[in-house]
Amino acid sequence: MLLLNCPWCGPRDETEYHYGGQAHIPFPGTPGDLTDEQWAEYVFYRDNPKGPFAERWVHSTGCRRWFNVVRNTVSYEVLAVYRLDEPRPDLPGLAGLPGLPGRSDLRQSADPAGGNR
């Protein structure tokens, strides 16, 4: 069982949380301009790395707040926990998080504020 360190409540068992999938997927900044392929990317395509992965969790039976976790999907080691208003830590293996064509366009246009939400 994973032990996750909620930024507000401290370390709790995995059973107190729910998983929210990949983090840092902003809603498209100009949705009216997206092609069907770009919509498919936004709705259905997520990274699936074997290694460090930035993902969202919600402390559903605690403070009920969302936060981000960087976790190794092979060893299940939790490498970082950070709030939604904090930038993603610059960890080895996460640099760039290369997206494929379509995704990188989405990322650039999607979040004009440049935040990490």
């Binding site: 998983y19 919509w39 498919a40 709705v43 699936n48 790395p49 074997k50 999907t73």
Partner: protein, 406 residues
């Protein structure tokens, strides 16, 4: 009911050749789907200059880790056609392969515990019948007749309000299925190469012309990916993305017991599925772990949850001991249906996204994937399961009939 003796442990059923420098077709992954694909490439299409590459050992991945359940009671027309084709192939494969892998059509019960379960079950039975799939709706007392050890008391926390029943469904001895397919494929000239990991793809522009492996470069006219939980990793190495997420899925078996469990029982609501293996173990599965993972182990709380459900449904198992638990990695798609077809890379084909239910589909996956690889075009059965459906929106949403949370 008496225990069925197991088939003799086979001698070597296939050669262990070194990889040649090139093949007409290279299949990545020597699990059930990869082996069935090679078998049908040879049998249906006469393509025998084929290598099946396996990073570990033959059928040692999810093929060795599943709960061996075979059924075809899916909701949508596309799925019913695909899985029913598989079931029909299962029914003739032991004779065709001349190998008794103990395909046992002992039926599958899908229990209903809520009014919504009942409605979904009745709807699915009707849909199944319209598609020529054998299905019955059973009231509670009829469920008890099919599986007398089930606790159908109305006073339990999740009383059994009825269930769907597919009499032709059942189980098969998974290892022997793989070995039976491997023997025939080998006899027809297919090279089964174990300990050979695909580390990259050789491309000429947008066209694949071979694979890089831990045992050197192997050129190929066409390449088929059948890597189950690692399909996403393989696709990334080939330079494209798949809409799959890899999750741990675990199962467990008890110590051996006398034959007491005559069928297969699945329950979405309390989330356990149980059958009794020929040898006597109770085989139990649950849902996937929520998070992405490649660790081939799952969370203990999932086991606690499924055991609580099993003991409620089967009080007779309360003192059974767990013998072993294990995990496999399943690739899950957004609509809980597989992807079989072409990819953005020319001559590279993919069979993936079976989530928690690939074993039952083994022959149909091989049949359709072989057709797609041999002709470059989808078979009518796998045409709806193309990658394009995530762009067109023509999804095949089988989360309900998938029966396992994922």
């Amino acid at each position: 009911m008496t225990a069925t003796p197991l088939p003799e442990h086979p001698d070597w059923l296939w050669r262990t050749p070194d990889p040649r420098s090139s093949y007409d077709v290279v299949i990545v992954g020597a699990g059930g789907h990869g082996l069935a694909t090679a078998y049908y490439l040879a049998r249906n299409h006469g393509i025998t200059n084929v290598a099946v590459l396996e990073k570990g050992w033959l059928a040692g991945g999810n093929m060795a880790r599943n709960t061996t359940i075979i059924r075809s009671n899916y909701l949508w027309d596309e799925s019913a056609a695909l899985y029913e084709h598989a079931l029909k192939l299962w029914e003739r494969l032991p004779e065709e392969l001349d190998y008794d892998f103990l395909f046992s059509q002992r039926g599958v019960l899908n229990l209903a515990h809520t009014l919504q379960d009942v409605r979904e079950g009745v709807r699915r039975v009707n849909a199944n019948r319209l598609n020529g799939v054998d299905a019955e709706w059973l009231e509670t007392d009829e469920v008890a007749k099919v599986c007398p050890i089930l606790n159908v008391s109305p006073t339990t926390r999740h009383p059994v309000l009825g269930g769907t029943y597919q009499p032709r469904a059942g189980i098969a001895k998974h290892d022997h299925v793989a070995w039976a397919l491997a023997r025939r494929a080998d006899e027809m000239g297919v090279d089964l190469i174990q300990g050979c990991e695909v580390t990259g793809f050789v491309k000429d522009g947008d066209r694949v012309v071979g694979v890089e492996t831990s045992r050197g470069r192997i050129l190929a006219g066409r390449v088929g990916l059948a890597g189950a939980g690692h399909s996403g990793v393989l696709a990334e190495r080939a330079g494209f993305r798949l809409p799959v997420q890899s999750h741990p899925l675990q199962a467990l078996v008890s110590e051996l017991h006398e034959p007491v469990h005559p069928t297969v029982v699945m329950s979405n609501h309390v989330h356990v599925y149980v059958s009794q293996a020929h040898k006597g173990e109770l085989v139990m599965g649950a849902g996937v772990d929520a998070y992405n993972g490649y660790g081939q182990r799952g969370s203990f709380h999932v086991i606690e949850h499924q055991m609580a459900a099993a003991v409620e449904l089967f009080p007779v198992f309360a003192r059974a001991h767990v013998l072993r638990t294990w995990g496999g990695i399943v690739d899950v798609t957004p609509d809980a249906s597989p992807i079989i077809g072409t990819t953005p890379v020319e001559n590279l084909y993919v069979n993936c996204g079976w989530g928690t239910g690939g074993f039952k589909a083994t022959p149909a996956a091989g049949w359709t994937f072989a057709h797609t690889i041999a002709t470059g075009e989808p078979h009518p059965l796998n045409k709806p399961f193309a990658l394009e459906r995530f762009t067109t929106g023509a999804l095949i949403d089988e989360h309900g009939a998938a029966a396992v949370a994922h």
